[in-house]
Symmetry: C2
């Protein structure tokens, strides 16, 4: 099966939208879709034009049974052409498993603040960057085509320290690039950002990354998700994360919305002139999988209710 190589996985001249619902969307749910339904979700979104997915996390299945079927999802992803399949790898053991599988991308997480790093990732920021370097070394030795993606959690506000200085985040991003990461992401993990914070940090990331794209991972916890995505696109971001129906919540704000709604992100991108190659009508149909499989989870999103404007050329060309 054809697979994008490391240099073409994230083009810099167009917008890429990553579906993270299968991973971040299922991180804190109490029930989750069957493996068959997950594969249906993956397959149908791929058919709708989505090419970038986070499939899950290699975590102890006793504590995170929702990711126990990750190998089956990786197998399914491998049958679909041009699909960039990523998995979260939070430690060296997960990396071992990941590099021995046939995924196309591993996602490492570092934290923007020392406090959050110790409290939640249970290692220092330096140790996290060292783990990124270890992933790069393992990749070079075992699976040279695999993308190493380093995501910076709490990059736009921290559940422990509050405000986070952009300079701190840029320092961490640079450290990850120096460690050999192919791509770096900035995450508003707890949905603290307003559009001005996103604009400022994206300007810094654009200067730091040059022609290399960077990822912006937003949560809609406080209603600014789409506004922040617009600011990101206006300030150089070309890769945005989202989840179907905004699946996933915020562990720090019970009942709050989760990731930015993927369908609404597609509409925003097209409306702002960035072609996504994604069929928005098809996405609305795929939401039914979630409605059926995990009826207790609230799904969000405006496009699912209204549809796009019927008499307006809203799609980018």
């Amino acid at each position: 099966m054809t697979r994008p190589d490391r240099m073409t996985a994230y083009p810099s001249d167009r917008v890429t939208l990553r579906e993270v619902g299968l991973r971040d969307g299922l991180q804190i749910v109490k029930s989750w879709p069957s493996t068959e339904a997950k594969i249906d979700w993956l397959t149908r979104e791929h058919a709708a034009g989505v090419r970038h997915f986070e499939l899950g996390s290699f975590l102890p299945t006793a504590r995170f049974p929702q990711f126990a079927d990750l190998p089956a999802l990786i197998d399914a992803a491998n049958t679909l052409p041009d699909l960039q399949a990523s998995v979260l790898t939070l430690n060296e053991r997960a990396m071992d498993t990941a590099f021995a599988s046939s995924i196309s991308e591993v996602v490492c997480v570092v934290s923007a603040t020392e406090e959050h790093s110790h409290a939640n990732i249970r290692r220092s920021r330096d140790a996290s960057v060292a783990l990124v370097r270890r992933a790069v070394d393992m990749r070079d030795a075992q699976a040279p085509e695999v993308v190493v993606n380093a995501g910076i959690a709490m990059a736009l506000g921290c559940s422990i320290t509050g405000a986070v200085a952009p300079a701190e985040v840029l320092h961490m991003a640079e450290a990850c690039l120096v460690a050999g990461a192919d791509i770096v992401g900035i995450a508003d993990t707890v949905g603290y950002a307003g559009p001005r914070e996103v604009a400022t940090l994206c300007d810094g990331m654009t200067r730091l990354c040059g022609d290399r794209p960077f990822i912006v991972h937003l949560h809609d916890t406080r209603g600014t998700g789409i506004a922040n995505a617009a600011a990101a696109l206006d300030h150089g971001a070309r890769v945005l994360d989202g989840s179907l129906g905004g699946l996933g919540g915020c562990p720090f704000a019970p009942g709050a919305t989760g990731n930015v709604v993927f369908e609404d992100l597609v509409y925003l991108s097209e409306r702002m002139g960035f072609a996504t190659g994604i069929n928005i009508d098809a996405l609305n149909g795929i939401r039914r999988i979630l409605e059926t499989e995990i009826p207790a989870e609230t799904l969000y999103g405006a496009l699912a209710r209204s549809g796009p404007p019927s008499n307006l050329d809203w799609q980018a060309h």
Copy 2:
């Protein structure tokens, strides 16, 4: 009771948020709050710091019974200090009633497109501008302190013609100002706009209006409401409309969200550095009036679920 005069009703050096839920929010509902509950909503939002309200519309009460208690609301508004109470007046008869009452502002509506003007307002755009001039004349003769507000419907997309050229909207805005309107508003009546369209039109409005503020009335029909508000604030808008809980729908997209959520607009404005003087926690309590009185209506909004960040100085100073 003190009342802002025409020149100070909309300051140009700060952001003003207008609560339009009592008017636009109730335009298409099947049930509505009791007069007592409406007055409670008004009084408590005033106590929370909101100073600008649309109270209703002088329409035939047989067809629009939800506005039959408008005189009682005007009386209640008059007991509250520094409250800018506006009413929608769609024809000369409504203006007569309005100017004979003790309101502080009349809102006239013109359409951005000739097609929508004929189909929905049942007069030409020129005739609508003539009605604005008539309102100004009546005001000058009968109630010199009343603000004449001219709102341009379909200013960012039209349910009949689709795209609307900014030049057409600016031409209509200028005609309203020449007719003597104190303030002009641009409305995304059907929620077609993306942030780039809002930015472009607001740039034009800023050039046209100079030091005089203009109003931006947004609907969140397609999830871009807050992103569009951010673009408006970034491009010179200083008066934004919203409704508590996003009350109100879109007659052209059944089931769709309505006005931008007022609480989320307060948070966005503060997060962007514009002090609103509004207590966001109090607003969450006021939503309960709507939950109790009109339980069939869906309320929206992220702040009501998450609250503002607890360890971040998100408020403007």
